[in-house]
């Protein structure tokens, strides 16, 4: 017995116009439908990538929590965390850019959180990267305490 042939569902234009299969318009219409299907597939793919990025982000948050709770974390562990945060930050910016270009994607409907939530996660990693490369002098910190919190060291 021959293997079953996968059934390709008819697209809306194919159903609505009921075009004869030997006409040029039928083939053109099939191409249009194919492009529509591939674009829809690309959107689903982007949603999947976003979901995976969020898993990476959650993993980094666990690492951060462990570092915060450790009494004397190793410098290597901190360096590894900061390097990973920099990579995931870069990927997050890329994901955001792609999502912005495909703005009609219903991220909240698909993943339960929206563009602004993802943007906020990416911003947090941006903070981590900046803070990792920044050294605060005691004078600067004292000035900030004085001017923002109104106290002297």
């Amino acid at each position: 017995m021959p293997p079953p042939v996968p059934v390709v569902p008819l697209t809306q234009p194919e159903i609505e116009f009921n075009l004869p299969k030997d006409s040029d318009r039928y083939f053109a219409n099939q191409l249009i439908s194919q492009v529509q299907r591939e674009l829809a597939q690309k959107k689903r793919h982007l949603v999947k990538i976003t979901d995976r990025w969020m898993v990476c982000f959650d993993y980094l948050k666990q690492q951060e929590e462990q570092l915060l709770l450790a009494t004397n974390p190793l410098k290597e562990e901190k360096d590894l965390f900061e390097a990973s945060a920099a990579v995931v930050y870069g990927l997050g910016l890329h994901v955001l850019r792609q999502l912005r270009q495909a703005e009609e994607i219903d991220v909240r409907g698909a993943l339960g959180y929206d563009y602004a939530d993802i943007e906020s996660c990416v911003a947090e990693l941006g903070d981590t990267v900046r803070q990792g490369g920044r050294t605060l002098t005691p004078e600067w910190a004292a000035q900030l305490e004085r001017e923002v919190f109104g106290e002297c060291r």
Binding site: C121, E124, R130, V148, F149
Partner: protein, 75 residues
């Protein structure tokens, strides 16, 4: 609000943002940003400056205390 209360208020909002569930992160960030803007008013410091200061000088201690009290509350 004295200096300690001000700092604690910002640390609480920072913690709430950093530990918020994914679908509440944007809202938590809006609250933090508003409080940072209020704190930095009439000073030469940016939101980032205040966050960096809090993270470098106070957040670790606050985080450990907060986790400890959350865990104690659970038992």
């Amino acid at each position: 609000m004295n200096a300690d209360e001000k700092r604690r208020h910002l640390l609480t909002l920072l913690y709430d943002w950093k530990t918020a569930p994914e679908n509440e992160r944007a809202a938590a960030k809006r609250l933090l940003d508003a409080a940072l803007d209020e704190a930095r008013k009439d000073t030469p410091f940016s939101r980032e400056d205040i966050k960096d200061y809090l993270m470098a000088e106070h957040y670790k201690q606050y985080f450990v205390q907060r986790k400890r009290s959350e865990n104690a509350g659970m038992h």
